[in-house]
């Protein structure tokens, strides 16, 4: 067992963990935060996406012990990460704007990929705001500056969300939810 200190959704945990345990299994089965899902355990689906020190990662592909001292945000903690947090009750938890937009745009069906999509989407919007490039980014120009900005933005979002599989096929609605939040943030 290896000692590990980890902050998850603002709560600090002092743990002793099996060095073989993934961050995903630690969060789900040691900390009992079951929002993050295991779709493949191989880094191929994105259902396990969490935000670690501000960047999204596939938590199934990362050993828990490699995160000593890290700050982890899971779906259970994304609302608190957003500005203007409201009081949360059991029936009506406070929601991040992207969570709200997912509901409005029906950006999920079975919901199994949803925690990962939302964590990934929040981080993707932050990456865009920081002008971090993706595969489709036109080099030298931010996506805001090119001629067909709208089409390119859609392509940027699709590309950036393509690590999160959704077998139910909610992709167009996920895109709409992201756009809504992005426009509101401008």
């Amino acid at each position: 067992m290896t000692p590990l200190t980890l902050t998850v959704n603002g709560i600090r945990h002092e743990l002793r963990v099996d060095p073989r345990r993934s961050l995903l299994d630690l969060v789900r089965d040691t900390l009992d935060l079951t929002g993050a899902k295991k779709g493949c355990d191989h880094g191929q689906c994105g259902a396990c996406t969490m935000i670690v020190n501000g960047r999204r990662i596939n938590s199934c592909l990362s050993l828990a012990v490699s995160h000593d001292g890290d700050e982890v945000t899971t779906i259970e903690g994304v609302a608190a990460r957003s500005a203007g947090e409201e009081t949360s009750t059991a029936d009506a938890p406070a929601l991040h704007p992207l969570q709200q937009a997912f509901i409005e745009h029906d950006a999920f069906q079975c919901g199994f990929c949803t925690s990962g999509q939302i964590c990934s989407g929040i981080a993707a919007l932050e990456e865009l705001a920081q002008d971090l490039p993706s595969l489709v980014t036109v080099s030298g120009e931010g996506f805001r500056n090119v001629e067909d900005a709208d089409a390119l933005l859609e392509e940027e979002l699709r590309e950036r969300m393509s690590g999160n599989l959704c077998r139910c096929g909610a992709y167009p609605n996920i895109l709409a939810a992201l756009r809504q939040v992005m426009e509101a943030q401008r």
């Binding site: 493949c40 609302a79 029906d106 699709r158």
Partner: protein
Amino acid sequence: MTEMMSMEVQAERPLGRALDRVDGIAKVSGRAMYAADYRPASDLAEGFIVEAPAAPGRIRRLDVSRAEDAEGVIAVLTSANVPEQRTYGAPEDAGRFTQSHAVLQGDRVRHVGQPVALIVARTLEQARHAASLVEVEIEVDAEGGIFDALAHEDLAFAPDSLDGADDADTQKGDLARELAGSDHRVGATYHTAMQHAAAMEPHVSVAEWDGDQLTVHMGIQIVASAVKAFATTLQIEPEQIRIVSPFTGGGFGSKLGIHSEAVLAALAARVCDRPVRVVQTRRSVFVNAPHRERHRQELELGATADGTLTAIRHDNLAGMARDYAFAEAPASPTRASYAAPAIHTSHRVVAADIPTVDSMRAPGEAIGTLTLETAIDEMAQACGMDPLEFRLRNMPDVDPVSGAPFGDHRLESCLREGAQRFGWDGCVAPGSRREGRLLIGRGLAAAIRPNMLVGAEAEITLSPDGRFHVRTDMTDIGTGSYTILTQIAADTLGVEPGQVVTELGDSAFPKSSGSGGSFGAASTGSAVQDAASNLLSALRDRCAALGLDGNGALAFTLDSVRLGERSLALADLVGPEGMTASGSIDPDDFDTGQAGYSYGAQFAEVAVDAVTGEIRVRRLLGVFDAGRILNPKTARSQLLGGMIFGIGAALMEEGVIDPRSGAVMARDLADYHIPVNRDVPALEVHMLGASSPFANPLGAKGIGELGICGAGPAIANAVHEATGVRPRAFPIHLDHLLPNLPPV
């Protein structure tokens, strides 16, 4: 029904409203409890499957001693110590979902990947490590196995029945004569790929025993048949079994029945006397959950010079997993889409030593429209006609093969409206529409899917808290059951959806249709509607007995019921227990002898890179008739999801079995490609929305599988217009196109 409605005039009635999902908050906040999220009261043990590395054959040596000694291991289940079960596949008349699903029985292994042992340990890491210590040797049968059914046509036979149809073969009219007399003939052999449902939630079961009572939390589509399957396999009474499945992370057919992890979990929990969770690994899902089998489909069409179809022949060959009677019906759409004097269809299967073959979303139509609608396009071209005009010319007046009258027939409306919305302006010469190095093509296809109604029951309780609790063992696999059942109840009771609480996925509740075959909403929805009207009459009677009588609708608040100016306290009306009524639907009451189908028309635009052959879908538009739309928001999502399945079938999804060893080669999501966000363009979905009262009391028809039908062939036909190449195998590979691409 109108007079039952609330007196308050609502802007929009609950049913038909684009209501946000009632389980939306649970799903976006990570609170929805899927089976793997369930935490039993006592310590949960983890099960890990050890697979057979070769098959068919017998286990020559299985040494689990090192695994048993490994840290944290509680037990290792093998055929030597597994509790008694009914023989796999028995009894013969049970049907595939309720037959015995016994595991670890004897030394026989049917297919590569079948479980030969289950490690049970305190943690997943311990179980997985112990599994690596198991030594297993398989003595493969001397004569080898049959892995490539299509190479063994000599062993083919007609299945006793088909999925969704009785007859393996149908022969309407004189095929030879009609073909001989036709002016145009086209024919081709097509191959459609082995496919996997690949639901994002891997198959999972958490089993626990309390004395002789078994409870299993699992991801499942039909709760009641899971109860039967456990009862048959474990030789216990259905009353001893409770299945709980409030949320299922996608099914697409693969969770209609139970699979090895479920039985293993139940057996292990018994042996270890503690709760056991078995989650299939993603790699396991590709062999221990069912797949859609690869098919060879032969189509031959005849038409007169003016473009009237005279003959259609559609012959199919595929593998059937040994001892598991399931045969898909790719000729199902051929029997129903177009009029022709002669239509002959056949289905043959070869028993093969492969993992379970079973339904995958839109069984029959998904891969049947892929080929039929491609061939229809080719025939239109042979006749020199626009493919839209050709389809319209051959619309049937009655169900083409059965001769039954249609309950309704809106295929033509879908085609016409789709053409107009898409801006269909006829074909251009293949390869002639270009944008730089991109070849642009457009195509269309018809969509059809038989509509079904199955028996279902539900109950509704008006509780003293003023809420109506709907209970049925129906599942919500992403389809929106929670939401539409809430709307149906609210609509009938004359309350707002917020006053209704729907509880699903528990075998303790009345037996529903479950989710499958696109019959869930109409079937279980009709039962909920019936329960709601029964409850309303019972409440009205009770009100009258308490002196609250008169005309008009009862209006329910959280603490009272009002009729006109007068009201009654809810506590006085329903007492501390609340008041309950049940309802049901019997499909025999709707057996009118009419043929019922959902319809659609899909239009695609693709861009093919003239240098690399890369195919990108640029537009996909569908117009659909699924009867009355219960909730346009969730209905649209169902259709979108289906269309994306269609993109996958046309361009990406291909399971592969090694023909020498029987091993499934594409066993993860990096090898088996499903569409990702960037593969999907802006999709356009339109619904006709007209009611289909012949089908069921709600007037709704199936929608969950409709979107996949016709999407793939619309893309294939667009690829033809872009490149001049007629796809004969699906998914369409770049190398099918490369040798024949027009010069850049």
